[in-house]
């Protein structure tokens, strides 16, 4: 198997996890920056519509590195799609496949289910709820919690911060409740 074919395969957790972990010292050493992504959403608010809200009154230009970082993540998505795309369907557990088939989700070719996340499904109740309300909760919740998976779960836990452990457990509890108890209702709409 050539190198490029190897790269195109889905990467195992023991390759991806350590690279993600190395983002922490890389950002600290190359610029004294603490790893975090959700703050970028705040900087966009501060830059575009601060509306005299105290929370958005700060020098966002000083945090512009964070916007470069997320733009890089976006470009990483484009580059992967162009050069390292894996054409096979994602391999998920049989239990999940059979559960999702009950809701008419059978396309496993994309990162997000094509049956749920597309422009047309914005007009369906479940698509609208997942994309619009889900997005709102990601933005509102991460800022309320003071960070997201990168800022709390990875950066915060790496620095042995107890508040980050509380936040990470809350993320997981929220996710378990939504995926197992509430999502079945939303998907059957």
């Amino acid at each position: 198997m050539s190198f490029i074919e190897l790269v195109k395969q889905p990467w195992p957790w023991y390759v991806a996890g350590p690279i993600i972990g190395l983002m922490v010292p890389t950002l600290l050493i190359f610029g004294n920056k603490t790893f975090g992504i959700s703050s970028s959403l705040r900087h966009v608010c501060a830059a575009c519509m601060p509306s005299k809200i105290p929370f958005f009154q700060y020098d966002w230009k000083k945090e512009i590195w964070n916007l470069f970082f997320v733009f890089g993540v976006f470009l990483g998505g484009i580059i992967t799609a162009l050069y390292f795309k894996n054409d096979a369907d994602i391999v998920v557990s049989k239990a999940l496949i059979s559960e999702l088939s009950k809701y008419g989700i059978s396309d496993f070719s994309g990162l997000v289910p094509a049956d749920l996340f597309n422009w047309a499904s914005l007009g369906t109740p479940r698509g609208l709820i997942l994309m619009v309300l889900g997005g709102f909760m990601v933005g509102f919740g991460t800022r309320y919690a003071g960070g997201c998976t990168s800022g709390h779960a990875i950066m915060g836990l790496s620095n042995l911060q107890l508040p980050s452990l509380v936040a990470t457990i809350s993320f997981m509890v929220g996710g378990f409740i939504m995926a197992n108890l509430i999502l079945p209702f939303i998907l059957s709409l």
Partner: protein, 167 residues
């Protein structure tokens, strides 16, 4: 440190909570230096996609305990991150600008529970946390731009009503 002067006293510890303006470099660097963050973000984005961390399906598996994959990714990332931070502290490693690296201490507030639960809901719904949203969009899921826009709206609404929320 002038940028802190306009953050009010009653701000719920913006600096320790939000991982901003804490220990960023005080050395003036030319703006093209920001390109290194673009490069790091690019690597991060590729890893997120190739390890399927940004896949809605993998997130559903994680929250249903149907696969070890996501726990392995996050767990090994934390272990590597923690060892790195330990080494940086132990040997007082400086940044390439020669600055001392001081990591912020976070303080507890109830927002980490309430906000954390809400974000957990959103994570299971969209199959993405903020970083992966940008990767999904780049990978070609154009409708995710709506989700990103709503995440920005959510952040704005939080900022607007921050003082009225329990912390």
């Amino acid at each position: 440190m002038q940028q802190h002067s306009n953050i009010p006293e009653n701000d719920f510890e913006v600096r320790s909570l939000d991982a901003m303006c804490i220990n960023d470099e005080q050395v003036e660097t030319p703006s093209w230096h920001n390109l290194k963050y673009l490069l790091f973000g690019l690597v991060f984005g590729i890893v997120l996609i190739k390890a399927e961390v940004v896949s809605w399906f993998r997130i559903q598996e994680m929250f249903r305990l149907q696969s070890f994959h996501m726990f392995g990714v996050i767990g090994s990332a934390v272990v590597v991150g923690a060892i790195s931070v330990f080494i940086i502290k132990k040997f007082k490693i400086k940044s390439i600008q020669g600055e001392e690296i001081i990591l912020p201490e976070k303080s507890f507030n109830k927002g980490q529970i309430y906000g954390g639960l809400l974000f957990g809901f959103g994570w299971a719904m969209t199959g993405a946390c903020p970083g992966p949203l940008f990767a999904q969009l780049g990978y070609g899921a154009t409708a995710i731009s709506v989700t990103i826009l709503m995440a920005i709206v959510g952040t704005w609404v939080y900022g607007k009503f921050r003082e009225k929320l329990p912390h």
